[in-house]
């Protein structure tokens, strides 16, 4: 099966662009599985956060999935288009990465 991921890209100050990627998947695979495969097969510069991969323990892969805030590691890939964007209420770092660290655990003061 094939999923199309429409991913918002870019850094603060740029007009965001949307890149469309096709990714093959097996039923049951997660959006995070798809993003990780894309970095190997299509574009290694695609930026997103994750740490625990599978367990939904780290909560780092939170993003906007089809307009809803959700975890990329628990939402399944589907046929057709899935739209991915950064968290809307957090400062953008790059692509799907936003500033989600507590302020006192950052190197630099809040930008």
């Amino acid at each position: 099966m094939k999923a199309t991921l429409a991913i918002q890209r870019g850094v603060p100050g740029e007009v965001p662009r949307v890149d469309n990627f096709e990714v093959a998947f097996e039923p049951g695979q997660s959006v995070l599985d798809g993003l990780r495969a894309l970095r190997c097969e299509a574009d290694p510069s695609l930026a997103f956060r994750f740490s625990c991969i599978n367990a939904n323990a780290c909560k780092e892969c939170m993003m906007l999935i089809d307009g809803k805030v959700d975890y990329a590691c628990t939402v399944r890939l589907k046929e057709g288009v899935t739209v991915l964007g950064p968290l809307p209420k957090k400062a953008l770092v790059r692509d799907l990465v936003t500033e989600i660290a507590p302020p006192d655990e950052r190197l630099l003061p809040r930008r």
């Binding site: 850094v11 049951g28 290694p44 695609l46 740490s51 367990a55 399944r76 770092v93 989600i100 655990e105």
Partner: protein, 574 residues
């Protein structure tokens, strides 16, 4: 590009007494103890603080001779630890783990971690390889998250600890042969940072991220081992990678850790079946197998049994074994699994209807940085703790010892690093950071070969050729492939763009991972016997003359060197 940005301004600089690299259980405990001893501390992690690492993922149990469930003494725990280690344990470290374990678990209890209780005492479960019930836990599958949350709460309460997430340590800095800090890449800005410290603690966890199927966070690629090697510290027992026999295989399970099945298998007596729906563990049991009557095989033997069944054509469709709870009434499953039943249902899994498929998965690394009984490496001012340390568990780790080790070694390394910092004046000198700063500055915009794909290939290589069952031919071919990958990625970092640059991070990871992969394959090739987690198909059986540790170090001309040493005996004072 990163390069120009960095050349225009001096890098940000931070000074502290103790730098702790890695904010899992061991790193957090080290930071707490160092601060308690009066040191200023920077606790740095490449992930967000408290989110990465192995501790938060741990779902199982914590072993310590608390004597709450049944009379016990830490010497009994030590005897079991040494027996599991198949003659290779550093007895000083194993004794430290077992003797101090109860103190750390009680301290955690005082911090309200929430150990499961029964009849007014801490409940201790029996786990394979232990001679009595010794393993505390937090229900349901919450041990690691509870430990992590508890230590985070203590960090918030303590003063003198600065936590900095999203900081990738590139190299430890040396001044006159002693650790004096580190150079790091700050991910969100893409800028270099220098950290001056009178003592440095490596708490970066293990290397299971080097394997295709693993139960680790993405940041467990063994970077701490590479940091240690490059400043002249030694590694020990690197060939011993523990595979957890019943990692979840199919159907696809998301939102849960793949190693979740063990406590349920223990509680309920889940059955391990082959494709003929026949229990096969007994076929592999040998007279020296330590059994508690419910678990037949320790982890290394269970891994062997499942792999052999698959090779014999008796594997499950996805290439593992079935784990079945179908012999149990639904109510009993519901009561033992609690809310986990609903999480399974969301994955389309109904244990009353059909079994799941499980297979061995890279889980823990017995080897690691070689330290003395104060957790100090061969480099003055450089300490290590937690899974990053090698030696305590020898050739095979007992179930329940990993979190105990994180807490005990974390506390000890933090305390000793603070003492070192108090006795030594600052020795930071800017040139100490130059090699790493120059490395970052030299990055070029490039993504071929795709470093993410090279990492994927390396993981496949390690799983297929440096996995639980090894041969000379496989290991030779792995070493050749690692050398090819090294030359492909070269010595000049690849980069894409400044902020949160995954290409640069992958390149820096590969620089470490390839060195560490070689540090595993080399001693695995040399060890011509089968012991614990290291099984050579061409050298079956234990060879008494191999009751010896292998030490890996980097020589002057940057080649890896292997030498042998007799296991350390004698006890450390806790």
């Amino acid at each position: 590009m990163t390069a120009q940005a960095n050349q225009s301004a001096a890098p940000a600089h931070i000074e502290t007494d103790v730098l702790v690299i890695g904010a899992g259980g061991a790193g957090m405990y080290a930071a707490l103890e160092a601060a308690k001893a009066g040191a200023s501390v920077v606790l740095a992690d490449r992930s967000l603080i408290g989110r990465g690492g192995a501790t938060v993922m741990a779902q199982m149990t914590v072993a310590a001779a608390l004597a709450e469930q049944t009379p016990d003494h830490w010497e009994h725990h030590l005897a079991d630890t040494l027996a599991a280690g198949r003659g290779l344990c550093d007895e000083r470290l194993a004794a430290l783990l077992c003797e101090d374990g109860p103190h750390r678990l009680r301290e955690m209890d005082g911090w309200k971690v929430g150990w499961a209780r029964e009849d007014g005492h801490i409940k201790q479960a029996q786990a394979p390889g232990h001679d009595r019930p010794r393993c505390a836990y937090v229900d349901f599958l919450s041990t690691g998250p509870a430990v992590s949350r508890t230590l985070r709460a203590q960090l918030n309460l303590s003063s003198g600890i600065r936590r900095i997430g999203e900081l990738v340590i590139v190299d430890i800095a040396l001044h006159e042969g002693a650790a004096c800090g580190a150079t790091a890449l700050h991910l969100p800005s893409g800028e270099a940072v220098t950290l001056a410290a009178k003592a440095v603690v490596i708490a970066t966890g293990g290397l299971t991220g080097l394997y295709r199927r693993n139960s680790a966070s993405s940041n467990m690629g063994g970077d701490g081992y590479a940091l240690a090697l490059r400043v002249g510290a030694e590694l020990i027992d690197m060939e011993f990678v523990q595979f957890f026999p019943i990692g979840h295989l199919a159907p696809r399970l998301v939102g849960m850790d793949p190693i979740m099945w063990d406590p349920f298998r223990y509680k309920l007596g889940g059955k391990l079946l082959n494709a003929e729906m026949r229990e096969f563990e007994q076929d592999y049991a040998t007279p020296d197998t330590r059994s508690d009557g419910r678990y037949v095989l320790t982890r290394d033997l269970a891994t062997y049994a499942i792999t052999r069944e698959v090779e014999a054509g008796r594997g499950s469709p996805a290439g593992g074994a079935y784990l079945s709870f179908q012999h149990l009434p639904e109510a009993e499953i519901r009561s033992a699994f609690g809310p986990v039943v609903d999480r399974l249902a969301a994955n389309g899994i109904d244990l009353t209807k059909r079994p799941v498929e499980v297979a061995p998965i890279a889980h823990y690394h017995m080897g690691g940085v070689r330290v003395d009984d104060t957790l100090r490496t061969a480099v003055p001012g450089l300490y290590a703790c937690g899974e990053a340390v090698g030696g305590a568990n020898g050739a095979n780790r007992l179930s329940g010892n990993a979190i105990t080790e994180a807490l005990v070694f974390g506390a000890s390394a933090g305390r000793n690093a603070a003492r070192h910092a108090q006795r030594n004046s600052a020795r930071w000198s800017a040139p100490a950071a130059d090699p790493a700063l120059n490395l970052l500055r030299s990055a070029v915009r490039r993504d071929a070969p795709n470093p993410a794909a090279v990492i994927r290939d390396l993981k496949a290589l390690m799983a297929d050729q440096v996995g639980p069952f090894r041969t000379e031919a496989k290991l030779q071919s792995a070493l050749a492939a690692i050398a090819r990958m090294k030359s492909e990625i070269g010595e000049v970092p690849f980069s894409s763009t400044a902020a949160f640059d995954p290409v640069l991070v992958d390149w820096l990871d590969l620089r470490n991972m390839l060195l560490v992969a070689q540090s595993v394959a080399m001693p695995a090739l040399a060890r011509t016997e089968s012991r614990g987690a290291h099984q050579r198909e061409d050298h079956p059986g234990l060879d008494e003359s191999w009751c010896i540790n292998q030490i890996v170090a980097l020589s002057g001309d940057s080649a890896l060197e292997l030498r042998r040493a007799a296991p350390s005996s004698g006890r450390a004072a806790a």
